[in-house]
Amino acid sequence: MTLNRRSFLASTAAASGALMMPAIARAQDAIRIGTVLDVSGIFDAYGTPMDMAQRLAVAEINDAGGLLGRPVELISYDTQSDMALYTQYAQRLVRQDNVDVVHGGVLSASREAIRQTLRRANTLYFYNVQYEGGVCDRNIFINGVTPAQQAEVLVPWAMSRSGPRVYILAADYNYGQITARWLQKYIDDNGGEAVGTDFFPLDVSDFGSTIARIQTVAPDLVIAPLVGGAHLSFFRQWAAAGMNERIPLASTTMGVGNEHKVLTPAEGNGMMVAYNYSQELDTPLNNAFKERWVEAYGSTDAIHEIAVSHYMGIHLWAEGVRRAGSAERMAVTEALEDGLSVDGPSGVMTIDPQTHHAILDVHLMEVRDQKMEVVESLSQRPPVDTQAVCNLIENPDDNTQYEIEF
Amino acid sequence: MAETVLETEGLTMRFGGVVAVDNVSLKLKARELRCLIGPNGAGKSTCFKCLCGLLTPTDGRVFLRGEETTGWEPHQIAALGVGIKMQVSSVMDGLSVHENIWMAARRFNDTQAARRKADEVIERLALGPIARTELGRLAHGERQRVELGIVMAADPWLVLLDEPAAGMTADEVARMGEVIREMTRSAAVVIVEHDMQFIRSLASTVTVFHRGRVLMEDHVDRVMSDPVVRDVYLGKRA
């Protein structure tokens, strides 16, 4: 094994270049937030606005004088919708960049990919996205809506507007699998029947045979926790077959990636959803937030539910640091466990110390002309699904994701 | 009485509606030299391929040293100790002459013995000066000679050669004849050939193919003077 001299010199130069860049860019006494988000690839519709939101949040913190008198520095990696890159970049964040906290992860798959790595590395982790619930780990804080907060109200509402026979179409990974089981539970609880459940890998984009199959069952309602760019085709093909006028559609994910703005009004109208946030919320804090966003990015087009929850997550953490007077992991954790809460564009968000999840508002909404119109608001719902299985006060060393069982 | 090393019984090969080889029965004794001749399409090459396993005959049987080998893979037939050389020179172009011949010897010897065997064959065929040269860089005649070396290195008791003299200079053909005669000291040799001059120089028994059948089988001189054979070669209807 020999290397020729020229290639040796070239690789030295390349290597030292790569190592030096972050070193120069790094401020000495800054508090560092590391993030991993899919800013490209098939999940970029989720990740890109989250990236915009985190930059806005960090700018706000720094404009207000930073944290504990120190500036906050954002170190962000694009995981390119590739789950393997998550662990790679998470390890870099903790080993090389020595960050004080890691925020991010879009899909549940990405969260589970790095959760253990961060726990092992003693680095605090925030996952700021709605998800299937059940994660019980003292190293992580989660502020997204869980099935008990979302599906529990969405299912009876949607069924009351359609009928008891429900067909479920879910993305084939942990989020879709677990959410589908929660949906079945809530359908049963409300006297309905899940007449069919299909799972689709995230790259499936041809739903012709599925649409025909659904018609053979003739359900009253279709609930579709579908995820990502490829699955967007379902809503298009559904409308192209004229089904949107025959069978109502509800979803726990539609619109999270601003799908309702990509679809035409004709394709999207009437779909039923339930989230923690809608751009249509007319509160002073939301209006101020949208103004700041427009100032930074020109228009509010990109804002979506999980961009806002990511933004809120960073502010939650920042408040924890302020309260703790330190960016150290345990100090911040204990401060947050004190039932800390912040108020923001999506309303008040309070940390539930038992589960490290959030207590928050949920709104039932209907898509109308590329907007999510709020039909009904339910305030301060606790994550009862996770509370039923997880108690970090009693078992601080718990490290499992509980799944619903029948 | 010498043992029969090669025997076919009613060998028949059909391609769709065409009968390329039609009920051919051959018999070859140990150390016998036999040439298969005939005009283009007479079936001699197809028959040859059936013998060495490249084709599985539609009908009939092949025996080598009394063992039925009908439908065997070429490598199984070669593994019995049968040396085979196809019409188009088939050698390992990226390897040297020594490596080519070593590989042939290696089938029946261990590594060390194979090397000695290769050295010996190279000397016998006077390939010494080009022993380390890659085959891809050799001229056609040299490659043919190396291929004969590959055949010899395995110490076969039966050698099957398809047009060994094709495309060679007169000199090279003469040398080829010597090598083949030398082979018959230890092996029976079957040659498919066009070149009548060359066959005559080998002075062997000849089997004449015509339209897939054996037309006659006799010593080369008698065959050459036979009017029917002459007609076949001149294209007249027999």
Binding site: A15, D172 | L80, I84, S90, N100, R106
Partner: protein, 343 residues
Amino acid sequence: MRGDARRDTAFILIAGVVLIFFMPLLIDTHVLTLLIAYGMLALSLGLIWGFGGVLCFGQAAFFGLGAYTFAVAGINLGESTLPVILAVLVPAVFALALGAMMFYGRLGDVYLAVITLVVTLILFRWINSTAGPEYTIGVARLGGFNGIPGFPILNVPGRPELMIWGETLYYVAAVSLLVVFLLVTWLLRSSFGRIAVGIRENEERVSLLGFDIRARKTILFAIGAAIAGLAGALYATWAEVVTPTLFSLQQSAEIIIWCIVGGLGTRFGPILGAAALAYLKFALGQQAIIDNMFVLGLVLVLFVLFLPRGLAPELARGWHWLAGSRRRPARRRRAPRAEVSDG
């Protein structure tokens, strides 16, 4: 020849040890470990393609199989020694079955490419749709798109509590690559290896010599798969997660590109190609101006057009030129020789 072999081995050992201690001065060991896993993966394809003439479009399948075996066995057994062995064996057995099916079916090159590609796709599709709770092996959930996180990483044999990671993992990985490299060297010098090269050069001729090429190709294919499986296990312990993308066509494509760029028919070429391109990709991943797929594609096209024999033979020529010996004439393209003194 025997002296040659001994000198070659000594040279590999010295150069290997020097590189093992020298490279961490240039590149972070965390990145180096990945480059090593990829290097080993490239070597596995380099062996079966460059020396056996079997172009496999699905080498990633064996890599993924090795990684998944390591993860699944690790979760079930709670330690990593047996999982490493299984990660080598499972892909090898799979390759034996697949190889037997292909080679005994006398499929041509293109068909071989299609079959390996299709089998990789099937594995990818299948593993990608195992998110449901019903897909478990022992106590390990296959996890579908999520992959499997949180399995036990490499540990000192017999001592599950002593985990090997970070810097130590680098040295373990580097030494295993060196050992695999020496084994490949030995294999290529053996009769089996030399006959494999013969098969690459002329399949019909070798079968007419009485060698069963189907069996030999199948075995070589399995050896390549075993090495890829070991690389997969290394990757898994490095990444701490295995995902279906390990089986992807993109991954298979990259392995082929590494071999082409590094140089087919050499042992060192594929490793060099893998390390150089993976590092390039890594470096390109840090910036957003130019897409790294674009660069990889461009590199591949340029190499096929202008440097089809890859880097290694050029480097070797440079080395011989520097060493003042010009006895080595230019080799014919597409017929790289079995022995390489530049390895």
